[in-house]
């Protein structure tokens, strides 16, 4: 699967503009997120799951970003989806890529994004009883937590 071929296939299947480059950025609507992941794995052959994270764009809402690679053909895809203002749910990629399990738990922990169909969604880095989601822009970095700080 040549990168150019992959780019053309993605642009035609999802009807979005895919810019050339390494990695190729594909941005879709949240309802096609799982379909995009499945397509990337099966058709484009990106079986290597690199990472999944989120970005807080303040008023514009959250955006989930994932990167998958096709190691044999050197195709790198950056999958993005903007969740929209106030939305904190997203489809989970775990049924497609097992590596998304811990990455999505971390997104839940840090941003409060609830992933549907995730087998085990709970906090991973912070304690289960922690209040707040730190990487949101509304959370201060030096939030006190008596008695330790």
């Amino acid at each position: 699967m040549h990168p150019e071929q992959a780019r053309a296939l993605l642009a035609s299947t999802f009807g979005v503009e895919v810019a050339a480059g390494v990695p190729m950025v594909v941005s879709v609507a949240p309802d096609r997120w799982q379909q995009l992941a499945q397509y990337a794995k099966d058709t484009v052959g990106c079986r290597f799951f690199n990472f999944l994270t989120a970005v807080d764009w303040k008023e514009q809402g959250l955006e989930v970003v994932a990167r998958v690679d096709n190691l044999d053909d050197n195709v790198a895809l950056m999958l993005k989806t903007k969740l929209g203002p106030g939305v904190t749910t997203c489809a989970s990629m775990t049924p497609v890529y097992r590596g998304a399990n811990w990455m999505e738990r971390e997104c839940f922990d840090m941003f409060g994004i609830h992933f549907e169909n995730h087998p085990d969604l709970r906090r991973i880095l912070l304690e289960d009883t922690w209040e707040g989601h730190p990487l949101l822009k509304s959370y201060a970095v030096d939030t006190p937590h008596p008695p330790y700080r």
Binding site: G99, L126, V141
Partner: protein, 387 residues
């Protein structure tokens, strides 16, 4: 006096499946750091494992939004603190990718030399602690540990002469490196790596002729190629499972394209395969350092002016993901910048975080003693896992 004939013996029968939940707590003798594994045991066999991490969550990603591009590289070295050079490399490369800064050739060669020396030092620590975990501290296991730390101290001496610090450096800077090599460093470096090269042969022979080592590592912790790609592990774990992928060769960065080196691949996927991959990586790293020292170009070490204020480096709006082949795997830094002196969002792709995610898939079915061997061969560093 105890009358043996009058004592009663009670036979405890095995009344059925006996499920025990055992905590391998955040403080335990196998020297990997703060990791808690709650093992569900059936007898001696592990049935399921819940890996609890986050005991070293130091808020790197949130703090990076408050630190400038000049301030953060020293903090970046504290993610993978055993291989601090490659950690800083990822962050600085991402910043340079967004800002499209050129790095002079000499700085690129210095970066490669330092990254490969760091690989040697990190693998020495891996070998020492892994063998110590399998052999028991103070018992017989400390032998390889003490030898490896002795070699590692020589490499750290080189770093101390170059940078001033032994473990956590602030060597990388956006645009180049911060220090240049002092006089006499190249000769000491060559002597050190020659010595390490010969001694690694000794350790390899010592280990592979040891039946216990072979019994404890062959066939243990097998990671299939499918699982490896699906979970996203990288580095020696991926190459030990048959995937021929090394970022230095497949997506070369910073003058790695100028050097000839082999990329070891093993197909067995067990602890022994990962061990073989790392042992070959030792030799290849040493060979890269020799090639780089032979052809080190003269020139400036940074394309940016000397740093006079912390907010000096401004990067235009954009985003980039830069990846580095660290000793543990793919260390990456995804930076989204908004034009100011600080990043808008920095995601640290830690190699050990993805590598550790493989544990719930491969540990069930093994004995408790194998858990230690598997953990060692996965080689996590918790600064990277928890960030």
């Amino acid at each position: 006096m105890l009358d043996v004939n009058k004592t009663t013996r009670v036979e405890m029968d095995w009344a059925g499946p006996e499920r025990l939940q055992m905590n391998m707590g955040p403080q335990h003798p196998s020297a990997h750091g703060v990791f808690r594994a709650i093992l569900g045991l059936q007898g001696e066999t592990v049935v399921d494992v819940d890996a609890v991490i986050g005991y070293l969550h130091r808020c790197h990603e949130k703090l990076s939004e408050t630190l400038t591009y000049a301030q953060y590289p020293s903090i970046a070295s504290k993610t993978d603190y055993v291989a601090a050079m490659t950690s800083e490399f990822a962050y600085v490369m991402a910043a340079e990718a967004i800002g499209k800064f050129e790095v002079p050739r000499r700085a690129q060669y210095l970066r490669v030399i330092v990254a490969e020396l760091q690989r040697v030092a990190s693998h020495l620590l891996w070998l020492g602690t892994w063998c110590m975990d399998m052999g028991g501290a103070l018992g017989g296991g400390a032998t390889i540990f003490l030898y490896c730390i002795r070699e590692r101290e020589d490499v750290l001496d080189l770093f101390e002469a170059l940078v001033g610090a032994r473990l956590l450096y602030g060597f990388f800077q956006v645009g180049g490196t911060r220090y240049d090599i002092p006089d006499g460093w190249i000769e000491t470096c060559r002597a050190t790596i020659d010595r390490i090269d010969s001694r690694i042969d000794e350790y390899e022979q010592m280990l592979e002729s040891n039946a216990f080592f072979i019994a404890r590592t062959k066939g243990i912790g097998v990671v299939s190629r499918e699982l490896a790609l699906d979970v996203g592990i990288s580095g020696p774990l991926l190459r030990g499972s048959g995937v021929n992928y090394d970022i230095r060769r497949n997506a070369p960065y910073s003058s790695y394209a100028d050097f000839q080196f082999k990329v070891p691949v093993e197909t067995a996927g067990d602890c022994f395969a990962r061990y073989r991959v790392r042992m070959v990586e030792f030799r290849e790293a040493i060979s890269i350092v020799r090639q780089a020292l032979d052809t080190l170009p003269a020139g400036p070490i940074s394309s940016r002016p000397a740093l006079k204020s912390v907010a000096q480096i401004r990067i235009p709006k954009g985003e980039a993901y830069a990846r580095v082949e660290g000793p543990r795997g793919e260390v990456g830094s995804y930076i989204i910048s908004d034009g100011s002196a600080k990043p808008y969002r920095m995601k640290w792709r830690g190699a050990s975080f993805s590598n550790l995610a493989i544990l719930p898939h491969i540990i069930p079915g093994h004995k408790v003693a194998d858990v230690v061997a598997i953990m060692g061969s996965v080689d996590p560093v918790f600064g990277e896992v928890d960030r």
